[in-house]
């Protein structure tokens, strides 16, 4: 009985709170989180085009919001999520056709996804404001 209690206290399988997630797993859950974020972001997109349909006054309300510090912060987060989801999505499409499944190739594509996100975000904001 003591033997059983002893062994049952050990982690028998890599549970999420114990197992150290590899980077690819973090990127995988980030893909879902950014997907949810981007779905919420479509509310902003809808607000923009709908405000324009209602006329200049409502368009100005949206423009004031999106150019405010909070609006720009949201837009920045939206852009990071968009570029991450785009880069990681490209990787998923390559996986779907059976490419780059090896651990080595996955580690390389991890780097491409993260570097791509940073570079595309930087380019977009630099082009927009400098």
């Amino acid at each position: 009985m003591t033997q059983a209690a002893k062994s049952s206290a050990r982690p028998l399988s890599p549970h999420l709170q114990i197992y150290r997630l590899p980077l690819a797993a973090w990127l995988s859950i980030t893909h879902r989180i950014t997907g949810i974020g981007l779905t919420l972001g479509t509310l902003l997109l809808t607000w923009w085009v709908a405000a324009a349909a209602y006329g200049e006054e409502s368009y100005d309300v949206f423009a004031d919001f999106i150019s405010s510090p909070f609006g720009l912060f949201i837009l920045f987060g939206f852009s990071v999520a968009l570029f991450f989801h785009l880069c990681n999505g490209l990787r998923h499409l390559l996986w779907d056709v059976g490419k780059n499944f090896s651990i080595a190739a996955t580690k390389t594509s991890n780097t491409f996804v993260l570097a791509g996100t940073v570079i595309l975000t930087a380019i977009a904001w630099l082009v927009a404001y400098f």
Partner: protein, 135 residues
């Protein structure tokens, strides 16, 4: 345990054979395929959208209206919106089906997401067209 209506006689069919005989709900492949199709379409559409937003960054209503009046911009924007909302509801469905444990809540949330995405798609597309067609 032969829980089926095989009138007493045990089936010689293996569990795998039985499952294959039942088949799937037949909708999984279509969902999977549409998700990939919309992903592929969203690659160029997203690049176009980001470039457009950068061009429109300081614009007021008149600049936006002038931009969306172009048939090419209006068409691409409508495509971007339609494909985006299709992709969003499809991805959200996968996430909800994976993480919402209660069956009732899972079905309800998937229905809600699909209806909301459809409504937002309609609103945003109609909004684009209203400005694009204004005289």
């Amino acid at each position: 345990m032969s829980g089926s209506s095989n009138s007493g006689s045990r089936s010689l069919r293996s569990p795998l054979g039985h499952a294959r005989g039942l088949g799937s709900a037949k909708e999984g492949l279509h969902h999977w395929w549409m998700q990939r199709l919309t992903s592929i379409a969203l690659i160029p559409l997203t690049v176009w959208f980001v470039v457009s937003l950068i061009q429109l960054r300081q614009s007021g209503f008149e600049e936006y209206a002038h931009w969306i009046e172009s048939p090419l911009n209006a068409t691409t924007m409508v495509l971007f919106l339609g494909v985006t909302f299709h992709h969003a509801q499809s991805g959200m469905q996968v996430v909800l089906e994976d993480y919402v444990a209660s069956h009732g809540l899972r079905v309800a949330s998937v229905i809600a997401v699909k209806l909301i995405c459809t409504a937002l798609a309609a609103l945003s597309i109609v909004s684009v067209l209203i400005v694009a067609f204004r005289v």
